[in-house]
C-alpha cells in the first residue's frame, strides 16, 4: 500500500469520528433537563413574543436535526454563535485566547521533547545503572505529580520567594513579547513535566526493546562501530513508536493546559472553558469542546501518518 493510499484510507476513517464528536458536542446541551432557552435568558420571565423572537434568533424553533445541521455548517465556517455571557461572537472570544494556549502548549511540547528524548536514550543505553535508576525515579515522580500542585509550588518558589517571575501574567505586553514568553516558561514547564516523564520512559523502553533485537547483534557482528549501531540502527527504530506517542501528547497537553491556566491565571482557552462552565455559557463550551475534540482526532491522524511514513513495513 502506498503512503498516499494509507493516508487517504486513514483520513476517511476519521470522518465518522468527526461526525460523532459533533453529535456529542451538539447533543450535550440537549441532554440537560429543561428548555435550552432558559440558559439563554437565564430563567427570566418573558412574554410570548420576545420568547418566540429569541427562539427564532437561536434557531430553537426548528426541528432538532435541522438545528444540528445548521450548527455543524456554521461551525465549519467558524461561526459558533454568540456568547450568552458577553454577547460577543464565540469565535472572537476563542481567537483572542487561542494564541496564548498555543504558545504555552508548543513551549511545553518543546520542553518535553528536548528533555525526554536524550535522557531516555541515555537511560536505555546505560540501563540498570545509577543513571537509569535516577531517570526511573524522576519518571515515577513526574507521572504522579498533580500538575496544578506543581504549578502552585513553582509559583511559590520562583515568583513568591525568589521573585524571578511575576505572579500574574503580563498580558498587556503582547503575546510574543519577551515578558510574556518568560512568564509562560513556568506553566510550560508545569505541563511539560508529565509529558517528559512519560516520553522519557517510553523512549527508554522502546530503545531497550530495540537494543535486544537480533538485528542489533547482526549490525555488531558486521563490525560496525558502536556509534553507528546505536545511531543508525537502534535509534531510528525506537523513535518510530516514540514519535507516535509524542503526537498523541497534544491531547495530554491540552488537558494539562485547562488546569494549569487556572493556576497561572493564564489567558488561554482552558481558563475560558472553566470560567464558562461556571456561567453555563453553552455556545462557548460547545465550541471549545468541539475544537479540542477535532484537534485530538487530527493529532491521532498525524501520529498514524508519521508512523506509516517512518516504518517501511506499513508504507509498502
Amino acid at each position: 500500500m502506498s503512503l498516499q493510499r494509507f493516508v487517504l484510507k486513514r483520513g476517511l476513517l476519521t470522518i465518522p469520528l468527526l461526525l460523532g464528536v459533533t453529535l456529542f458536542t451538539f447533543g450535550m446541551v440537549h441532554a440537560i433537563p429543561g428548555d435550552p432557552i432558559d440558559f439563554i435568558t437565564l430563567f427570566a420571565e418573558l412574554d410570548a413574543e420576545t420568547e418566540a423572537e429569541i427562539r427564532a434568533q437561536y434557531g430553537l424553533d426548528k426541528p432538532v436535526y435541522i438545528q444540528y445541521i445548521d450548527w455543524v455548517l456554521n461551525a465549519a465556517q467558524g461561526d459558533f454563535g454568540k456568547s450568552i455571557v458577553t454577547r460577543r461572537p464565540v469565535a472572537t472570544e476563542i481567537l483572542n485566547r487561542l494564541p496564548y494556549t498555543l504558545l504555552m502548549g508548543s513551549m511545553a511540547f518543546a520542553i518535553a521533547i528536548i528533555t525526554a528524548i536524550p535522557s531516555g536514550i541515555v537511560a536505555a543505553y546505560y540501563r540498570n545503572t545509577t543513571v537509569d535508576q535516577i531517570s526511573r525515579v524522576f519518571a515515577l515522580i513526574g507521572v504522579a505529580l498533580p500538575n496544578f500542585w506543581l504549578g502552585l509550588i513553582l509559583i511559590l518558589v520562583f515568583a513568591s520567594w525568589l521573585n524571578l517571575f511575576p505572579v500574574l501574567p503580563p498580558t498587556d505586553r503582547g503575546l510574543l513579547s519577551q515578558d510574556m514568553i518568560i512568564y509562560t516558561l513556568l506553566p510550560a514547564i508545569t505541563i511539560g513535566t508529565g509529558s517528559t516523564a512519560l516520553l522519557m520512559r517510553l523512549m527508554r523502553s522502546s530503545m531497550v526493546e530495540e537494543l535486544d533485537k537480533d538485528y542489533v547483534r547482526t549490525a555488531r557482528a558486521k563490525g560496525l562501530p558502536e556509534r553507528t549501531v546505536v545511531q543508525k540502527h537502534v535509534l531510528r527504530n525506537s523513535l518510530i513508536s516514540v514519535v507516535t506517542v509524542a503526537a498523541i501528547q497534544i491531547a495530554f497537553i491540552i488537558s494539562g493546559s485547562v488546569v494549569v491556566e487556572i493556576v497561572f491565571s493564564y489567558p488561554g482557552i482552558g481558563r475560558l472553558l472553566v470560567d464558562r462552565v461556571g456561567n453555563r455559557d453553552f455556545p462557548v463550551i460547545q465550541a471549545l469542546v468541539l475544537i479540542i475534540g477535532v484537534a485530538v482526532i487530527l493529532a491521532n491522524l498525524l501520529a498514524d501518518v508519521l508512523y506509516a511514513y517512518l516504518d517501511p513495513r506499513i508504507r509498502y
Binding site: 547483534r217 560496525l224 531510528r236
Partner: protein, 362 residues
C-alpha cells in the same frame, strides 16, 4: 596452526536467578576451509560459544577464562577497535532467524553495502555494486532491483540468502552459522545448505555450523563436537561419530532420529530434559537422563578423554575421537550396552553388519 583454536573457554551469565554456566572449558579447533559442526539440544551453550568467538556476549554474560586464537592471535586480548576490524571482515556470522536478523527500517542492499563500505574501503557506488554482486551470488534473482527492497518484501528463504550474502560480503575466512536453516522449510533448508557448501568451496571459507539436527551435520560437516549442558561431551570426525558414537548422549541423540522404514514400536528418545545450567546435576551432568548411569556417575565428573587411549583429550592438536564418559576411564561396571547396526546401501540383499558400539562384559 589452525585457523581457529578455542582453548578452555568458560562463559558465565550472572543473572538474577543465579550463575548460568553457559560453557565450561570448551576446547576445539577449526582448520581453514573446514566444516565444523556443533551439535546439542537448545540451551546446551552452542550459541554462546559462537557469540564468544565474535566477542558479542552481552551483559550479564562474561567470558571468564580461556583463549580464542584466530590465526594465532588471541581475540580476547584485542582492543574493541581491533576486534571490530575482524568482525564481519574475517569472521562473519549467520543467524538463526533471518527475519529478525535484518533491520526492518533499511533496505536489504543497504545492510550489505554498509559492511562493505566499512571494511573494504569502497565508495558508495562500488559498495553498492559489491552488494548486488553478493546478492546475485547467493542466488537472488534480479539482484539489482531487489537491492532496494526492504526485508519484509523478501520471503523467508530469500532473507536467509540475503543474510548469507551479508556474511560473505567481505570475504571472511570463517563463517559461524548459528542454526541457519532451523526457521526454514525442508526444501529451502536443502537449498541453503547447498549454497553454503558452494560458497565455502568457492571462497575456501571455514564454517562452524551450529545445529541441533544430526542429519544436517552428517551431510555438511567434516568434524563434530557434541555439547551437553555447556560441556563438550564428544568430539570426533563425522564418520567416527555416526558409526561409532562413544558418549551415551550422542547415542541418545542418534537413536531419537525417526527414520523411514523403522520397525521399532516407538522412538528411543532421551528421557527428561536438559538442566537449566544454573544448578547442574553433580558428577556427570547427563546422569539423570542416562540409561547407563551408575552410582559413580553421580559422584565423579567425567573428563574428556581420547576414547582409544583413555588419556586426557587434546582437541586442539589431535584429531582422535574423544568423549567425556566414565566408561572411557574404566569406571563403569556395566559398560555401555548399545549396538550400531549398519545396513548396506543394497537393501535387497538384506544383510546387515553389526558392531557392538559399546563395551560389554560378555
Amino acid at each position: 596452526m589452525a585457523l581457529l583454536e578455542v582453548e578452555d573457554l568458560t562463559v558465565r551469565f550472572y543473572t538474577e536467578d543465579g550463575v548460568v554456566k553457559a560453557t565450561n572449558n570448551l576446547s576445539y579447533r577449526i582448520e581453514a576451509g573446514e566444516h565444523f559442526g556443533v551439535v546439542g539440544e537448545s540451551g546446551a551453550g552452542k550459541s554462546v560459544s559462537s557469540l564468544a568467538i565474535m566477542r558479542l556476549i552481552e551483559d550479564p554474560g562474561v567470558i571468564e577464562s580461556g583463549e580464542i586464537r584466530f590465526k594465532g592471535q588471541n581475540l580476547l586480548e584485542l582492543s574493541a577497535e581491533e576486534m571490530r576490524t575482524i568482525r564481519g571482515n574475517e569472521i562473519a556470522m549467520i543467524f538463526q532467524d533471518a527475519e529478525t536478523a535484518l533491520n526492518p527500517a533499511y533496505t536489504v542492499g543497504e545492510q550489505i553495502a554498509e559492511a562493505v563500505r566499512h571494511h573494504m574501503d569502497l565508495d558508495d557506488a562500488a559498495a553498492r555494486d559489491r552488494a548486488i554482486e553478493m546478492l546475485d551470488s547467493v542466488g537472488i534473482p534480479d539482484a539489482a532491483e531487489r537491492y532496494s527492497d526492504y526485508p519484509h518484501q523478501f520471503s523467508g528463504g530469500m532473507q536467509q540468502r540475503a543474510v548469507i550474502a551479508m556474511a560473505l560480503s567481505c570475504d571472511p575466512d570463517l563463517i559461524i552459522a548459528d542454526e541457519p536453516t532451523t526457521a526454514l522449510d525442508v526444501t529451502i533448508e536443502a537449498q541453503i545448505l547447498e549454497l553454503l557448501e558452494e560458497v565455502s568451496e568457492t571462497f575456501d571459507t571455514a564454517i562452524q555450523l551450529i545445529t541441533h539436527d544430526l542429519g544436517v551435520v552428517a551431510e555438511f560437516c567434516d568434524r563434530v563436537m557434541v555439547m551437553y549442558a555447556g560441556h563438550p561431551v564428544e568430539i570426533a570426525a563425522v564418520d567416527d561419530l555416526y558409526y561409532n558414537p562413544q558418549h551415551p548422549y550422542t547415542v541418545g541423540l542418534m537413536s531419537s532420529i525417526p527414520r523411514i522404514g523403522d520397525t521399532r514400536d516407538r522412538l528411543q528418545t532421551i528421557p527428561g530434559r536438559m538442566p537449566d545450567l544454573i544448578e547442574n546435576p553433580p558428577g556427570c551432568n547427563f546422569h539423570p537422563r542416562c540409561p547407563y548411569a551408575e552410582d559413580v556417575c553421580a559422584r565423579r565428573e567425567p573428563p574428556l578423554v581420547n576414547v582409544e587411549t583413555g588419556d586426557p583429550a587434546d582437541p586442539i592438536n589431535s584429531d582422535s575421537q574423544s568423549a567425556a564418559c566414565l566408561e572411557h576411564t574404566g569406571d563403569l561396571l556395566e559398560g555401555l550396552d548399545y549396538q550400531v547396526t549398519v545396513r548396506g546401501t543394497d537393501e535387497s540383499t538384506g544383510d546387515a553388519a553389526s558392531t557392538d558400539g559399546g563395551v560389554s562384559d560378555e
